[in-house]
Symmetry: D2
Subunit: 249 residues, 4 copies
């Protein structure tokens, strides 16, 4: 199975533990629903693991990260509890080539802000807005199998300005019934790694059971998988060419 | 007045001539309203001329184009009446450095399609939708003086997919009350010329009297003004360097 | 073999027919060498056909194009002999999603210029410059298996300014021993189609036998393969939402 | 002088103090040479101040930064001596709209790395390579008055891979006589601020006396000047629209 992608789904994991109404929606945790979605879309290609905040090293030990091709990240209330050294460890792995899929409230995670360089602030409202994610990059592999838009009957609203660097490729733009728009599917490269931010997924809605949302996440994992190449070389180097000596000025 | 920008506002000019209700909105033509808007925003900087389809050479003679820094384009029903050789003349001037501001239904003009390479097709609906143009490029000179969004109470809807190349900079995204979004402010470079597509301006609405719309057009003209540089050199050239002879293989 | 990519390699095919020294390098035509390269890199995935200028309809009949996933294009002296209606046929297929790989002197082909909207002019020199194509997009699938650079001991020089739209992703930049640089690997989207321009391949050098060049072309074909999605809808549409009636002004 | 741009030139300032050969090249410091260059290009528009590492708060007090439109940054050996809280202060000002011009070895400054999110590592060699910076964005205001390339007879080499995010606009690519290329003029937006990285300027060469280099820096300062707009709003917001109540599911 040489073509397999090793995916690690990281979840804060507190909402489902602490709040009954959320546990009722996600009895296996949001990571469990996301993992089930990956399997549903592509039964054979993904080797899936999960990790949560309260595990030792947040489940993100050095060896485990080294063996991960693509990391999926969902966090919300406990961003500050993620240890700085582990954030830096994840960042180094992304720069080496590991893919990173940042979901919803992960926009304020330490890892996303460190890789973006901006505040990643935005507008928000939890009022059951309808969201419609319009495809604006029709040839992109992340929208394979997706129609003109994805409709979510109830979601948290996120609105502009979203304080991110201009996406290298903008894949989705959301319409919200309350009057806002949002750049909701954004591709970036950082080092040898590829990053996709995908907006939907507030914990009080069953968004990660939506077939289109599941397909987008699976497509994004395949898109973000690392490319096999030799390590890049940095530092002091010798010339590759010897130009003729120039006459003194 | 060395810093002046010579602007030529081109308008099809048929709706205002042929339809009383449109003439009532734009008694001086849409070009007249756009010209008045430029003067309102910056009284001293613009040297403004206008041209319309039914003038000889559509008002786009070689000398006139050669003396134009930025061309503003509004067309709708008569795109096919614009002569191909004049379209090619305009295209050459853009590639040489002349700025081009394409407004609203100009998305289907020959000149815009030739410069984009795509169909520039889109969805549309004339039903008095509310439009709200959200700024997504907060540091761009085209949004100087503009708040978080521009609101237009009645406009034609344009929806995605808008079949254009990915904008080099996306400045505005529109929300429409009927459920659609649209990339409504798009920057491109072609040759040495800069192009801005700006969505609003259906002929049955007084959009070109809106102060924010006027400011955006004025800002866009300043942004698109040519940059003084020597002509680019193409074709067969001699080496700039003489590398040492390589030993025969 | 559901995952197969149907590749059509189009070659002008005149140099190899008319010039003995070139025929000696490419006895099976440049299209033959390119086809052999694809098979060498990935024996099972590509279903390869070839077509040349002097076939009926240049080998680009409607049905054949409809059955093509990715078209590879090499042309040089006879760009003007390619019929306009066939260029338009190819363009429509690209906008529908067919991938297009444009090689070397194909920069001046009608199809590339039509899709770019610019002159695609450049500087050039046939003097056996050394070329070194540096990777600047280390995580891009087109550079899978490629080191820091590709070195070609003898190639035609192409220099800036290359009159193309700014690439959506710039993958390679070439260094030439005579003192020039060139954006030599450029990705674009047009409609639902993906386009890759790749510089190397002058007919007097055995460039399409170079293993790295072959790998890049194979990677590019995989990257440019269409994404399965419903057709985009354009034109007049009904609202998706019914907002409350607004009070008259 | 409403149109004036308040520029603050920040320099580490140690090389000129500690090393006689460098002091001989830059008797007024590199900041002095850069300031003289700005005045040479545009005598009236810039209000210029300078600051150095060894001043209190590195010369970057809160009030001073608040009054700065564009900050120019040159640092090299003492990046780690720049206090983290002052880096964060500068970063906040950039996100609010202050322009930032990062020169040469500033690629490894804390402020540039924080805004980019990557290591900003590169290859380098101090061997008096010839550098030729080719213009690849011919309509960009940063190249106003610049020919096809800028030639520097002796400079430090910087080579790819340069570990930065893909530039939003790539303005220059350098050719080096030793065989390398480098993306040497790179534009970014972060928050409401604009950033330009410009490669030349090793301390042992009189690069900041070169008229073309001076013109590029002056052009970049004008390009990076802030755009007057209201502050962006973030956080919890009310709906702008009231859609009709949806029927219960």
């Amino acid at each position: 199975m040489t073509n397999a992608i090793r995916v690690l789904i990281w979840n804060e994991g507190r909402h489902e533990r602490d709040t009954g109404t959320i546990r009722a929606i996600y009895p296996d945790g949001m990571h469990g629903a996301i993992a089930a979605g990956l399997r549903e879309v592509d039964e054979t290609r993904f080797q899936i693991g999960t990790a949560t905040l309260d595990e030792p090293e947040h489940g993100l030990g050095t060896e485990r990260l080294a063996a991960t091709n693509v990391l999926v990240w969902w966090g919300h209330n406990a961003h500050n509890e993620v240890a700085d050294e582990i954030v830096e460890r994840v960042r180094r792995r992304v720069l080496e080539g590991m893919g990173l899929i940042v979901l919803h409230s992960g926009h304020h995670s330490k890892i996303f802000k460190a890789l973006m360089g901006t505040t990643c602030d935005l507008k928000w409202r939890v009022a059951g807005d309808k969201e419609r994610l319009w495809v604006v990059a029709p040839g992109h592999p992340i929208v394979e199998g997706i129609g003109e838009y994805i409709e979510l009957p109830d979601e948290e609203m996120y609105g502009e300005h979203f304080d991110i660097p201009e996406p290298e490729t903008l894949v989705f733009v959301s319409w919200f019934s309350g009057g806002e728009i949002f750049r909701s599917g954004c591709c970036y490269g950082r080092g040898a790694g590829k990053i996709f931010y995908f907006r939907p997924g507030h914990e009080t809605f069953p968004t990660y059971f939506n077939p289109d949302v599941r397909r987008v996440i699976a497509n994004a994992v395949r898109w973000a998988a690392p490319v096999a190449r030799p390590n890049r070389v940095f530092g002091n180097v010798k010339p590759l060419e010897t130009l003729p000596a120039r006459a003194p000025a």
